[in-house]
C-alpha cells in the first residue's frame, strides 16, 4: 500500500463520517458545523493512529451499493423464512429436525463472502457457523431450509451482484 492510497482512504473515512454527522445532527448553524468538522477530524486521526482504516476496500467505500437490489430480495426471503419458523414454533408438536450442512460459496471477494454468510444467518432457520475459504458450515433448523440453501439461489444472486459491471 502506497502512501497515496492510504491518504485516499483517510479522505474517504472523513467523508463518510461527515455524511453520518450531517445526517444525524439535523441542525446547521456555523458554530455547530465547525464543531462537527472538528469532531470528525479527531475521530479520523484517532482511528488512523489505531490503524483501524481497512485498506482492502475500494476508495469511498461505495461498494455496497451494488448489493442494494439484492437487499430487497433478501428482505422478502427473511419474511418468508420467518413465517416458516413461526409456524414451527407455534405447532404443538415442534416439527424440527436440526442438521449441519456445508454449502459452497462461489464469491471471489471477502466482502461478498461475508455478505453471503451474514444473509444465511439473517434468515431465521439457518445460521452460518464456520467460514473456510469457500465452504460455509450451516446449522439448519429443518430439511426445507437446508435444501433451499443447497439449490444455491442466494449464492448465485450474490455472485451476480458482485460481478455487476454497471455500478
Amino acid at each position: 500500500m502506497s502512501n497515496y492510497d492510504i491518504f485516499f482512504h483517510k479522505i474517504s473515512l472523513i467523508i463518510s463520517l461527515a455524511f453520518l454527522w450531517v445526517m444525524l445532527s439535523g441542525h446547521y448553524t456555523p458554530l455547530l458545523l465547525l464543531l462537527g468538522i472538528l469532531s470528525v477530524l479527531v475521530v479520523a486521526s484517532i482511528s488512523s493512529r489505531m490503524k483501524l482504516i481497512i485498506l482492502d476496500q475500494p476508495i469511498l467505500q461505495l461498494y455496497f451499493i451494488r448489493f442494494i437490489p439484492y437487499g430487497f430480495w433478501l428482505i422478502f426471503q427473511i419474511i418468508k423464512s420467518n413465517i416458516d419458523v413461526c409456524k414451527r414454533i407455534l405447532n404443538p408438536k415442534l416439527p424440527i429436525s436440526p442438521r449441519l450442512v456445508t454449502v459452497r460459496s462461489s464469491q471471489l471477494s471477502n466482502f461478498a463472502k461475508v455478505v453471503y454468510a451474514n444473509s444465511i444467518t439473517l434468515t431465521p432457520g439457518t445460521i452460518s457457523i464456520d467460514l473456510d475459504d469457500s465452504n460455509i458450515e450451516v446449522h439448519s433448523l429443518s430439511k426445507i431450509g437446508a435444501e433451499g440453501l443447497k439449490t444455491g439461489d442466494m449464492d448465485r444472486k450474490i455472485t451476480s451482484a458482485e460481478a455487476n459491471p454497471y455500478v
Partner: protein, 101 residues
C-alpha cells in the same frame, strides 16, 4: 385515525407479537443452536416490523432517518453476533442435537 396510522399500528402490534413468538420458541427449543434460530426471529421480524411501523407513522423526516439507521445497524450487527455465538459455542464443545428424517 387515518389509514396510515392504522397500518402502522398494525405493523407495530404484529412486531410485538412476533417478539413474543420468538421468546416462546426460545423457551420451547431443545438445545442452544435451535434457540438461536428462534432468537433471530426477534432480531429480524420483530425489529423490522416495529421500526418500519414507526417509520410509516413519522413520515419522511430526521426521526424516521434515525429509525432507519437503527434498523440497518440491527440488521448488520445481529447476524454477526449470532454467528459469533454459534461459532464459539461449537468451539466450546457444545454438541448440537442433530436429527435426520
Amino acid at each position: 385515525m387515518d389509514i396510515i396510522s392504522l397500518v402502522s399500528s398494525l405493523f407495530i402490534t404484529t412486531g410485538a407479537l412476533s417478539i413474543l413468538v420468538g421468546l416462546l420458541g426460545v423457551y420451547r427449543m431443545p438445545d442452544f443452536y435451535t434457540r438461536l434460530h428462534a432468537a433471530s426471529i426477534i432480531d429480524t421480524l420483530g425489529a423490522m416490523l416495529i421500526l418500519f411501523g414507526l417509520i410509516l407513522y413519522y413520515g419522511l423526516n430526521i426521526v424516521s432517518l434515525k429509525l432507519l439507521l437503527i434498523l440497518i445497524f440491527i440488521l448488520i450487527t445481529t447476524p454477526t453476533a449470532a454467528h459469533a455465538l454459534a461459532k464459539s459455542a461449537l468451539h466450546g464443545n457444545l454438541k448440537p442435537i442433530l436429527k435426520d428424517d
